[in-house]
């Protein structure tokens, strides 16, 4: 247990080892650790940013959804209004059309009535002529008396 030259040799070894660590061991490892810390910090920040953006997006989507719902409701309302308008218009058109049809029918009926009357008159005139002929007991030459007959017919009309 005596102090001797070993002390100096050990001190030299110690200084060499310290120099070695300071020069070669510490800096690269420190750099690697610091870089990794930076990467992790960046990653965490990016994650935080992503979370924030997600929150914003969900907020935005909910407002968009709300607007869309509102618009849909408006559209439905307008459509209902339009539908009732269309129905009203259709009703009006139908009424007009029916009126027209009725008027046409009436005119036709009148025309039919008129032509029926005409036919009847004609037939009545013929019957009257025939009757007159029977009464006169003589042949009325329709060819000879055509103008007379037509005059009678004309009167009967």
């Amino acid at each position: 247990m005596n102090i001797n030259f070993t002390l100096i040799s050990q001190a030299i070894a110690f200084s060499v080892f310290i120099w070695f660590t300071v020069r070669f061991v510490w800096p690269p490892l420190l750099r690697a650790i610091e870089e990794r810390q930076k990467t992790i910090a960046d990653g965490l920040a990016a994650g935080e940013r992503g979370r924030h953006e997600l929150e914003l997006a969900s907020q935005r989507s909910s407002t968009v959804l709300k607007e869309a719902k509102q618009q849909a409701a408006e559209i439905i309302l307008q459509a209902e209004k339009r539908a009732s308008e269309i129905i009203e218009e259709a009703k009006k058109a139908a009424k007009e059309e029916s009126g027209r049809i009725v008027a046409g029918a009436k005119a036709e009926i009148e025309h039919e009535v008129f032509s029926a009357k005409e036919t009847l008159r004609y037939q009545v005139a013929e019957l009257a002529v025939a009757g007159a002929a029977k009464i006169l007991r003589r042949e009325v030459d329709s060819k000879v008396h055509a103008d007379l007959l037509s005059a009678i017919q004309e009167d009967l009309k």
Binding site: I3, Q10, A13, I18, T21, F24, V25, A32
Partner: protein
């Protein structure tokens, strides 16, 4: 063991506590403990070289298991240093703490190797008689480390505070600026500066040396027969397990004191 020597307890212990020496010059100081120096340098090169090899390929991405282990150790030391030392620790203090911790831990751990088996291997395979494998049981090692730290401490005292500032501190702390207590202050600081390297080195030396001696005493149970050998082996295993704690704790304490002393040199009172 050399069979020509009579095997007594004291010869056994003496044998294991003898250094392999080389006489460099005349005089009792110029003796070199070759075993201490070579073992400690090999251990330092192995441990720091291992860390260096890992660090050389260090990535800032996902680390390998080895790199993660090294980083864990380095980060642990870096945190301890950061708590104590408030200057730029990366230029010297933190790497120095790493060196001290790793190197002393390696040297202390040699204590756990079975002493007779390693002695046998060293003697029969390498032909080395009297090779002490635990460098920290050599007071020269612990003093070398503590004195290096002490010199760094003085250097930083002067560098940070200036020679005048340091002298001022020597005379005016801890009791005050009054000239009446100058001598007392100086005496106080002198005792502090002497006791620091002494306690620093002797704490490590004492713990590891005592551990070594206890291993030797437990080893002597083998002289009493089979049952004694078993008993000694069980006790030795227990002591070795306990010693894992001591070995690590002493390396850690030495490192912490190194950092504390250098940090104190940086701080004005």
């Amino acid at each position: 063991m050399a069979s020509e020597i009579e095997l007594t307890p004291s010869s056994y212990i003496d044998h294991h506590l003898t250094y392999l020496t080389a006489q460099i010059r005349e005089g009792s100081f110029w003796v070199l403990h070759v075993d201490t120096l070579v073992t400690s340098v090999i251990l330092g090169m192995l441990s720091l070289g291992f860390i260096w090899l890992v660090v050389r390929k260090a990535t800032s991405g996902v680390p390998s298991k080895t790199q993660a282990f090294v980083e864990l150790a380095v980060d642990f030391i870096d945190k301890e240093v950061k708590n104590i030392f408030h200057g730029n620790r990366h230029t010297l203090v933190a790497p120095m703490a790493l060196t001290v911790f790793v190197w002393i831990l390696m040297m202390n751990t040699m204590d756990i190797l079975p002493i007779d088996i390693t002695a046998k291997i060293l003697e029969n395979v390498f032909g080395l008689h009297n090779w002490k494998i635990v460098p920290t049981t050599d007071i020269n090692t612990t003093f070398a480390l503590a004195l290096s730290v002490w010199i760094l401490m003085l250097f930083f005292n002067v560098k940070v505070k200036g020679l005048g500032g340091w002298l001022h501190e020597l005379f005016c702390t801890p009791f005050g600026k009054s000239p009446a207590v100058w001598i007392l202050n100086l005496l106080f600081n002198f005792i502090e500066y002497v006791s620091k390297p002494l306690s620093h080195s002797l704490r490590l030396f004492g713990n590891i040396y005592a551990g070594e001696v206890i291993f030797l005493l437990l080893g002597m149970w083998a002289a009493t027969g089979i049952s004694g050998t078993v008993f000694g082996a069980i006790l030795g295993a227990g002591w070795a397990i306990f010693h894992i704690l001591v070995v690590t704790l002493q390396a850690f304490i030495f490192m912490m004191l190194t950092v504390v002393y250098i940090a104190m040199a940086h701080e004005s009172h």
